[in-house]
């Protein structure tokens, strides 16, 4: 399904209002329900992370303890180094995918050409093909190239699922940006570079920021690719989380899970706040 189709579906399923924009009480009910769905899973996690023994069918733990958090936040523990690796990889993925996505998104978002649908479909394949299959395949290649077991290899692997998202999002950004302003700038004496800097960039920067954030978050959540390509030597937060979970300490697992998810949630909320709700409205899909 194309992004345009998706928008139409959203529009037709909106409970109230015009053109998919719920109004008044209808709107607050929808927003409330979405927040509940988003935040409800965190409640048992928070409880578990603060519990000393928390078993079915207890609603609340018997005894409370900060033991799990002390382990997770221990300055000499593995959490902090995992955080550094995760952020490093995430930022690299974000930057590299943007480098590809800005020109690609501009062409996909503003031009019509033969085979455009095919290109869009090809771009979506990394999202459709199971990560395990991809991981095993490229692991063999990366081993030969000496890229397995290190951060550069993991970054390259993360680019596979991240770049398509960033490209498709930035295509929507460019499709909705008024690029006619570029011609006006040229006519007013701006060179090609100054037009990009003074006109194009201010027009697309907010939308591209959101696209970049998605690239970061796709990397942030990767487990299988990191595990296979990193070969256990690159320990990101998801790797640490699975390792902890298999260790059987529910409280520490819960605390690690929260530690992993909170920055992402904070980042997402902050971005939507900064963009004033405009950010996601800039994604109208490709033209």
């Amino acid at each position: 399904m194309t992004a345009v189709d998706a928008r139409q579906v959203q529009g037709s399923s909106a409970p109230a209002g015009v053109a998919g924009q719920p109004q008044g009480t209808g709107r607050s009910v929808v927003v409330g329900a979405m927040l509940l769905l988003l935040l409800a899973p965190f409640v048992p996690l928070v409880l578990a992370s603060l519990a000393e023994g928390y078993f079915f069918p207890q609603v609340l733990p018997d005894r409370w303890s900060t033991r799990a958090w002390r382990i997770v936040l221990d300055p000499s523990g593995r959490t902090w180094s995992a955080l550094v690796d995760t952020v490093t990889i995430g930022v690299a993925v974000m930057v590299l995918s943007l480098v590809v996505a800005i020109p690609a998104g501009r062409v996909l978002g503003t031009r019509r050409f033969r085979g455009k649908r095919v290109v869009e479909l090809v771009l979506l394949t990394p999202v459709l093909v199971p990560a395990v299959a991809v991981a095993i395949g490229i692991h063999v290649v990366f081993l030969r190239l000496g890229l397995a077991g290190g951060i550069p290899g993991v970054v390259l692997a993360h680019l596979i699922p991240a770049t398509p998202y960033v490209i498709l999002l930035s295509a929507g950004v460019f499709a909705n940006a008024d690029l006619e302003l570029e011609a006006q700038a040229r006519s007013l004496g701006a060179s090609w570079w100054r037009t990009r800097l003074h006109v194009t960039l201010p027009l697309v920067a907010p939308g591209l920021a959101v696209a970049a954030l998605f690239g970061f978050l796709v990397s942030w959540g990767q487990y299988v690719l990191t595990l296979v390509i990193g070969g256990g030597r690159v320990v990101t937060l998801p790797i640490l989380l699975f390792a902890t979970a298999s260790g059987g300490d529910a409280s520490v697992t819960a605390a690690t899970a929260l530690f992993h998810s909170l920055p992402a949630v904070v980042l997402l909320v902050a971005t939507t706040r900064v963009l004033g709700g405009q950010g996601f409205a800039t994604f109208g899909g490709t033209r």
């Binding site: 011609a183 006006q184 006519s187 004496g189």
Partner: protein, 382 residues
């Protein structure tokens, strides 16, 4: 004062030819209108002059110098688009100063000059407003100021009055013409509206289907159109099929004398503008007149427009005063058709339905003579 010459200017988009060999001289310091219906290639031509498009063929010359390969930012021709195209993230003042910023003019001087130009276009004190806080008319003025601040050689205006309400159009028109005269700007206006072309320009180039169709002073297009298509585009309401015999044209209205040198072969459309018909019992100076019956009449504010049926042909008549006030439907009316008010354009024998009575003129020979420079074109809808 820059003379512009377009030579065989052509632009193709894939298999579509948007502009086909436009050759046109635009006098320095004049206002020339590129006029035509949408899709006729006029905006393409303007963008080619601005340097915002590359031609598929032909040349653009400024003062005899070929500027075809000079990029837009160094051509000295500034284009103002129909939809203002103000940068939404800049204030009105920063929008106006944009071009100076690109030239590296210091901030304080930019600010001063922007305020001066804004004052010139009647927007003093609005420099800090953002485009969204300005009305459509104000935005259009900011867009004009943004071009003027660069002191361009050539000003290119795309439909400058189209987005404005009627009461704002007059002010904008005066502003454009005032600054054009002050600075002796060579100005090219693109418009689809013949009225706008007439009130703004000294020279009109009429384009149809990517080609130059007729070029001349605005008055020519009303009084001496070269083709039926031009006549219809300029609102010719009265086109009567006829056949030329010497200096007379035989029509259902009768045999009427026409001025010397009117275009067209034996088969012509006789045209007469609604306001040039003489209403009343006093016959025209040369005595040419017809009698008809009023079908309807309507008061249009500054004039009265009536439809009069004469020998099965319906004529539209405009009268400035109230001469038609007491003439209701059904009354008889004498219409003077002075020869100098009449004109002819070529008529193709196969062209569309002709008024019933014209058939009585007998078979018609199909040969248009060469007095018209443009190729004969198909009938258009009025």
């Amino acid at each position: 004062m820059t003379d512009i010459r377009l030579e065989g200017l052509t632009r193709r988009y894939g298999s579509v030819t948007a502009l086909d060999g436009l050759t046109l001289d635009i006098g320095g310091g004049t206002v020339t209108a590129l006029l035509g219906p949408s899709g006729c290639g006029k905006t393409t031509a303007l963008k080619l002059v601005a340097g915002l498009l590359d031609p598929s063929g032909g040349q653009v010359l400024f003062d005899g110098h070929d500027v075809t390969d000079v990029p837009a930012e160094r051509r000295g021709a500034v284009m103002v688009f129909q939809d203002h195209r103000l940068f939404p993230y800049l204030s009105a003042g920063d929008n106006v100063a944009f071009g100076l910023k690109m030239r590296g003019v210091p901030r304080r001087q930019r600010r001063r000059e922007a305020e001066a130009v804004l004052e010139r276009v009647g927007l003093d004190g609005l420099a800090d407003r953002h485009p969204a806080e300005l009305s459509g008319g104000q935005q259009q003025r900011v867009a004009l100021a943004r071009a003027l601040i660069l002191q361009p050689e050539v000003l290119l205006l795309d439909e400058p009055l189209a987005n404005l309400d009627a009461h704002l159009r007059e002010g904008m028109r005066e502003l454009i013409l005032d600054v054009q005269r002050e600075r002796d700007l060579t100005t090219v206006v693109v418009t689809h509206d013949q009225e706008e072309a007439v009130v703004l320009s000294e020279d009109i180039a009429l384009l149809f289907d990517g080609r130059l169709h007729q070029h001349g002073a605005p008055r020519t297009f009303f009084e001496h159109p070269a083709t039926e298509r031009t006549a219809r585009f300029f609102g010719a309401a009265n086109l009567v099929a006829g056949r030329r015999h010497g200096d007379r044209v035989h029509t259902p209205l009768g045999s009427l004398r026409v001025p010397d040198g009117t275009p067209g072969g034996p088969d012509v459309w006789l045209t007469v503008r609604p306001e040039r018909l003489v209403v009343g019992d006093t016959p025209a100076a040369d005595g040419q007149h017809v009698q008809g019956r009023v079908v309807s009449s309507a008061f249009l504010g500054t004039r009265t427009r009536a439809t009069v049926e004469v020998a099965g042909v319906r004529l539209t008549v405009d009268v400035a005063d109230d001469a038609l006030a007491d003439v209701g439907p059904g009354s008889l009316l004498t219409l003077g058709l002075p020869a100098e008010a009449l004109w002819t354009v070529p008529r193709e024998a196969t062209a569309g339905p002709t008024p019933r009575a014209a058939d009585e003129l007998g078979p018609v020979a199909a040969s248009a003579d060469g007095t018209v420079t443009s190729p004969p074109d198909r009938r258009t809808q009025p």
